[in-house]
Symmetry: C2
Subunit: 214 residues, 2 copies
């Protein structure tokens, strides 16, 4: 498989496939057809066949996909991340809630610590994760060659923190600040979490339904 | 505009368009071409022209789109939500972080309160939002005809809470539990927030980059 041949849309569907397949496996299912999988996921069968064909031969005409081997392969493709190091920047409400709730962040990466400016937080720990002084962030990134920063600072601090981290050599930012970060030609990768988007979509559907019933 | 003619993909892009257009307006821009907008958003110009044509005539050949009128129209389409009522179910770390961080939830809806099982939380408030006893959730939904529930309970409680709310007549669930909720044929709408998906995508790109450089 050549990764560069895989489209961004397919890559974004991989985590969804993985979750669905693991759910089916947990129910004891062994095979699934592209028709059935498509129905359950709101995708067309041909879309699914096309997506999976990027990664090799998992289906057999008339027999469907082997759930176990397909989910293992997708897990392998997505799961080559255990070697990456991660930190969290901004240990306020949202940052500490993420640490406490999202085990996969702590378990899936070499999670090195959290950073904050507040004196009362520095030196404490959140669910076992040490909180360091934000003033030492850039040095820490340089010395530890940190790969990924989870950005949960207030909006007003988002771009400054980003500039500091980019200069210090961060490679990827998982952005919770709801700000579009400017990264110039640094080559730093960003994935944005925009909570409001999916709530707006939900409300759009509610209001479309109400309109229909008028 | 007939809402039912608009595809799910277009609907999911609307909040992104709105954010981008508002950002451009804040910078003082007045018009933008589909080419330029496409470059900034990672979409093709023809995709953008097709999306916007669902809502009427906003562009003029050779002059680009009027940023102000286009963002107003998208805002209008997405923004017909002020009449909906919302509650939060599960006022733990994540739930209270959402209330404290996401002003648009509190400001954009009739936000009626939060619910939790913990005696030490019940009767308190989080950033002005009252926390009620989870035992009264179903009655509250019925009496107040609540439209939207933000679900931030622990995984183990997610399906039970969902069943209770569906029976009580909730219309939409914004699901932060990372569980696939079973809704049968209730017609209740769900939007799932799966934090891990976008982190996996980010790591996929990191590892693809490393592979290329080997």
């Amino acid at each position: 498989m050549k990764r560069s041949n895989i489209s961004e849309n397919v890559i974004h569907r991989l985590p969804r496939y993985l979750r669905k397949l693991e759910e089916l496996a947990a129910k004891g299912e062994e095979r699934i057809s592209s028709e059935k999988l498509g129905r359950q996921m709101g995708l067309t069968p041909s879309q699914i066949r096309q997506d999976f064909s990027c990664f090799g031969e998992f289906g057999q005409q008339g027999y469907g996909y082997n759930i176990d081997s397909l989910s293992k392969e997708i897990g392998r493709i997505l799961g080559t991340y255990q070697d990456y190091s991660a930190i969290l920047v901004g240990a306020g409400n949202l940052g500490s809630a993420l640490i406490k709730n999202l085990d996969f962040i702590i378990e899936g990466y070499r999670f090195l610590g959290a950073f904050d400016v507040k004196p009362e937080l520095i030196g404490t720990d959140i669910a076992g994760v040490p909180v360091y002084d934000y003033a030492n962030l850039a040095d820490f990134i340089r010395e530890n060659k940190v790969d990924i920063a989870i950005l949960t600072v207030p909006k007003s601090a988002a771009q400054t923190a980003t500039d500091n981290m980019v200069q210090a050599g961060i490679r990827a930012i998982w952005n919770f600040t709801n700000m579009e970060l400017e990264l110039g030609d640094s080559g730093v990768m960003v994935e944005n979490i925009h909570f409001s988007d999916s709530l707006l979509v939900l409300t759009y559907h509610l209001s479309a339904k109400d309109e229909e019933q008028k």
